[in-house]
Symmetry: C2
Subunit: 450 residues, 2 copies
């Protein structure tokens, strides 16, 4: 048995695997004797990349997760099935249908934009059009797909430094005649990017659909195909020309919810329906089974032909999002000032409060021209800084309430606003102006309170 067949294994785990005749990629069965009971774990044997602890064997479970199982000399390992070949083969592309809408898919990375080699767990970006057709052949019946890998990174590394590149890539596709654009994106920061694009792409003539998947395509419960296929239909045909997020609905496997880019939040670490519209109804639902789009809002920007639109891709990263908590040091505000931040989004408690020990520092910040706005860490509901004296004091200091805007959205918006305007007063004006349905209009009476 060659070195390669048990790559990364040493000591006791290598011994026992060798004795069983197992090699990487085999489906194995591990029987463990614990003090009070016996346990069995079954999965594909995965190579190890680090051998800190010899007593672990790593297998890919049916769920798609890899786990390391601690073994000892009493552990029995047997082979259930021999390893399969890598799955990176590419079948012939399906025949194309003429007259379908042109949809461009821009890939930035994340689970949806990758193919997994079942055998080794290796992940490979898979978004040229042929690859996509091979993963989701039904795409060929929905749109004429053009695919492009912009980058291939985890979304936790996507932020204001890369948002302009995404904006420009979308604009390029629109100029080239796309009827709609899909952005494949990791789910971690999908909500932030969606908010950022909602401002930077305001006025775009076609739909821009951000899409991710919560489960990789090698898991039976994967949402990748459903989400991608629905996104293509929405991007190609929807009557709205807005930045939206299309993700799995909780109701059924064939339904996708279309969230407004400024109103969407990842509210679960792993569920397929993790994304929720907050403080607003979803813009639409897409039913994959009946290929039907059900609109859920009266007002939206209309899709249109040819247009003099141009994007506003500039972002200034010098905006801090600071969550208030009991015991928060007042030093954080001074740090933000010293660091050169131009704006602060406070995630206050309840209706929009922070402890009064922060007041003097906030006053200094506002006096220095830093724009300070308030969202609520409650997430649902609206800040209302007229009810208690804390909120009134904060408004007197100059902290601006953001209504029911998500803090993620306020952050992206302020980074964008400072990308457009240097003058803090103009940025304040932008922050209280509804640009992309980012907050709900308040009661008709023009009101404040003291």
């Amino acid at each position: 048995m060659s070195e390669n067949d048990l790559s990364g294994y040493a000591g006791i785990s290598r011994e026992i695997l060798n004795a069983a005749g197992a090699k990487i990629g085999d489906r194995i069965r591990i029987e463990l004797k614990r003090e009070t009971r016996q346990e069995v774990v079954e999965g594909l044997l995965i190579p190890r990349f680090r051998t800190r602890r010899d007593e672990y064997v790593v297998v890919k479970l049916k769920t798609g997760y890899n786990v390391g199982v601690k073994i000892d000399s009493a552990t029995k390992i047997s082979i259930v099935g021999k390893g399969a070949e890598p799955h990176f083969t590419r079948p012939a592309p399906p025949p194309r249908t003429a007259g379908l809408p042109k949809v461009s898919i821009i890939s930035t990375g994340g689970t949806i934009a990758s193919k997994v080699d079942y055998r080794t767990g290796a992940v490979k970006p898979a978004l040229d059009a042929e690859d996509l057709y091979s993963v989701v052949p039904e795409l060929a019946g929905v749109a004429e797909i053009k695919a492009k890998i912009l980058f291939s990174i985890f979304s936790e590394n996507i932020g204001p430094q890369l948002w302009p590149k995404i904006v420009e890539a979308v604009a390029e596709e629109v100029r080239a005649g796309a009827d709609g654009v899909i952005i494949a994106h990791g789910t971690d920061t999908l909500g932030y990017t969606a908010a950022a694009l909602s401002f930077a792409l305001k006025g775009i003539p076609v739909p821009v659909v951000l899409v991710g998947s919560q489960r990789s395509s090698d898991r039976p419960s994967s949402d990748a195909a459903t989400n991608l296929l629905s996104s293509a239909a929405i991007a190609g045909n929807a009557p709205f020309a807005e930045v939206v997020v299309a993700m799995h609905d909780w109701i059924s496997d064939e339904k996708v919810v279309v969230h407004r880019g400024t109103r969407v939040r990842k509210c679960h670490t792993s569920r397929r329906d993790a994304f929720r519209s907050v403080n607003a109804r979803p813009l639409a639902y897409y039913d994959l089974l009946h290929s039907s789009l059900q609109l859920n809002a009266e007002k939206y920007a209309q899709r249109r032909k040819g247009s003099e639109w141009s994007p506003k891709p500039q972002f200034d990263p010098n905006v801090a999002l600071i969550r208030f908590y009991p015991g928060l040091s007042v030093g954080i505000i001074d740090w933000a000032m010293a660091t050169g931040y131009k704006g602060i989004v406070l995630e206050g408690s309840g209706l929009g409060h922070v402890g009064e020990s922060l007041f003097p520092a906030l006053e200094r910040a506002v006096d220095e021209g830093i724009v300070v706005v308030m969202c609520s860490q409650c997430i649902w509901g609206t800040v209302h800084m007229d009810v208690y004296s804390t909120g009134r004091d904060l408004q007197r200091i100059g902290v601006i309430p953001m209504g029911d805007m998500l803090s993620e959205t306020a952050l992206a918006k302020m980074m964008w606003a400072f990308g457009q305007e240097k003058d803090p007063e103009k940025v304040k004006e932008i922050m209280v102006t509804n640009i992309a349905d980012e907050f709900s209009e308040r009661r008709v009476v023009e009101a404040f309170e003291e």
Copy 2:
């Protein structure tokens, strides 16, 4: 008309109010002419404390909210009803029933602990026992109430500096023979305090019920009486001896949900059912109509008589909660180190990630002995730092996953852990030990992943 009758009003608003013969406390009707329509606002005329803008009239709406209405010379104001007298009168206490459980109410402030003067909107702490009986006379049939004002502050000002005082006050009541303790608390940071007390009061022989209200008692929709009355029944009779939060359920006005102190979060700025159990089922429900407690969990600490329990009230505030977001400056970690923080709770994205630009600073922090743990800003679900390389890298650096623990709870727990132990290694041990049901136990297989 004396100066006092239109206190705070000047210029045009004073003129128009004077012309109408209105005085503070009157119910007035304001008819506004807007460009396209007419609007009418009705409410109690409230004094102004600041006259930045003369063109506003402030009224208390039926909902209990105060709003400032912008008027102009075309505005018509008329009197709908004359002002009522202040409501601070105190009726005779109801007769007491013998043999009821002894319940101590410790008031820290917040909406539930106050009485509002309808006329001026003035708020007064109202928590000696007689006052409580006057506000909620039904209390006399449920428990023998002893009430104590510990402090009277907005909860956004309650934190690790005051938690020990609350702990000591509870312990004192238990030593004095209370069958249960209620803590009246503002809702803003109720969840944080509940988590903190869950650790500091671990092992207490009787129930400790934190309670707040989302709507003050002068509003028809107030939840104050329901919540207080249910809390008294729970504190006096419940079979569990844990720290819980009792707040309005969404189902009906007569139902209160009992959340575990480590699992509860304020998820709406204003709804009465704002509090939710996250990643865990509520411990119980209380039905006020039938005076029945429905337990919802199999395991809980049992109420018991006499005990050698003593609280662990020490907290160390030198723990930072840092929310990750796209563009977060790596400088925040260096700032936390320079400030002398002993621990950092990261609120990462998704399954427990942060951008890789933060890795070197986190490595420095861990090397300096700072305890760094990871929760998810998704709120629901569990961190799982074995799935993607970001999570594995972070674990290699020494960042410790907190499972499905709320970040609020992880913060309070680490402040408490550093209150008990100076050694960071011991604090790490505490953080991964389940003390007050703060995280769900994982799968039986002892597993890691690389």
